[in-house]
Symmetry: C2
Subunit: 216 residues, 2 copies
DNA sequence: TAAAAAATTTAGACAAACCTAAATATTTTA
DNA sequence: TAAAATATTTAGGTTTGTCTAAATTTTTTA
């Protein structure tokens, strides 16, 4: 199997690949809290194992084998997050660090049974899709609240920022997964948005609107 | 916190200390599947951290701080084993290796909530006591079946050998935790023992009788 | 109780994953 | 399009935890 460090690199490449064609050394260094030179070392190792496509100075992409491993780690991460929230009653802002450790428990049999135990959930506590045991998943078509107009609305289905600070703020405002919202006004001065919810009105900054995702 | 290797050394010292005053370098090397010289290196490091009492050539014991860490790891191991068997329906011979990884998940809040989720179990699937969140636990007073006489009996409450092969054998014979047994005969030739159970009779070797524990 | 055997420690190396500093390649900009 | 700025890689080191081989200490045994 792969080392913990290798798994974390593959996972990072996967996440960064969602927003770009290929991933740069510096992007990875920033995400992994390490130095570019350390990243280069590891990229050589992963290329040697044929888990990534790497040409010096040109960035990297995952091979099919590398992607499969990355998705499996993400599956584990999200299933453990679901477990922590649904079975152990943790809040959605508390589970990331724990799942970061638990995603490296190696047994696939274990994770498949955990999946079954919880009733094969499709989304984790932050609205991110949980890959099934074959690595398949569908992302629903989401947009940031900031991308919709006055009088439009939808259901909160995800977040872009997963930081505890942001999640705690949303919780406090009642802006949690599944809630219906409608934009009633956009303040011209700073483009902050006024949202109508079932039983109250909240005003959120553009920054928050950018990081809150809804389905139409 | 401590590294994975440090945690495994502390746990090993704890387990080996149960059968002896102090623990030798070679005993540890055997249990940890490593070399005596590697053990010596680690012992110096653990002594430096004041987790063990170590005088060269004289073996080691845990300090109070070291024992606390060891017991916490054992608590995690046994709670995860309980979870795997009771919630995910694994068999008692399948869970050791998985728990060996899971015992290193760092969060104590997580393990305390898991404990609560399962109703604060007192014994793991092999009959070993689960330390509570303060590290306290009672071992019930067990003896090997081999230590009792004809017409004596008791309830199966533990095993000495935790190997899958032994556990699978016991399972097949119906000799599982909680079963009532009574010794009806001891064969003079090889001192194997005939056991009367609720609805059947089984004959076990001296070796098996030595590794099967009962309460009187 | 001295020699032999066994156990333990020390010395010197190695791989993994990281680091800093220097060199090189690419991209930006004037 | 050449110089400057930025990004990336290379070179050389460090730490952790392991190893083998040699040295030393303890224990056993004759």
């Amino acid at each position: 199997m792969n080392t913990l460090a290798e798994e974390n690199y593959l996972k990072s490449i996967y996440h960064l690949s969602l927003n770009a064609e290929s991933v740069s050394t510096n992007q990875m260094a920033a995400l992994l809290n390490t130095k570019a030179s350390s990243v280069t070392d590891m990229l050589k190792k992963l290329a040697e194992k044929e888990l990534i496509n790497y040409t010096p100075y040109q960035g990297v992409t995952l091979t099919a084998a590398g992607e499969k491993i990355a998705i499996n780690i993400i599956r584990k991460h999200r299933l453990w997050e679901f477990f922590l929230v649904e079975k152990l009653n943790f809040k959605w802002d508390e589970v990331h660090e724990m799942a970061e450790e638990m995603e490296h428990i190696s047994s696939n049999e274990l994770i498949d049974r955990l999946d079954k135990f919880m009733g094969f959930p499709k989304y984790d506590p932050h609205g991110d899709p949980i890959p099934d045991c074959d690595g398949k998943f569908k992302t629903h078509d989401l947009k940031p609240v900031s991308a919709i107009d006055v009088n439009a609305g939808g259901v909160i289905c995800g977040v872009r920022d997963h930081s505890p600070a942001f999640l705690q703020y949303l919780e406090k405002q009642g802006l949690t997964i599944g809630k219906q919202i409608c934009v009633t006004d956009i303040i011209e001065f700073d483009r902050s948005m006024v949202l109508q919810m079932e039983n109250k009105t909240v005003q959120i900054s553009r920054e928050v609107a950018n990081n809150l995702l809804i389905t139409l």
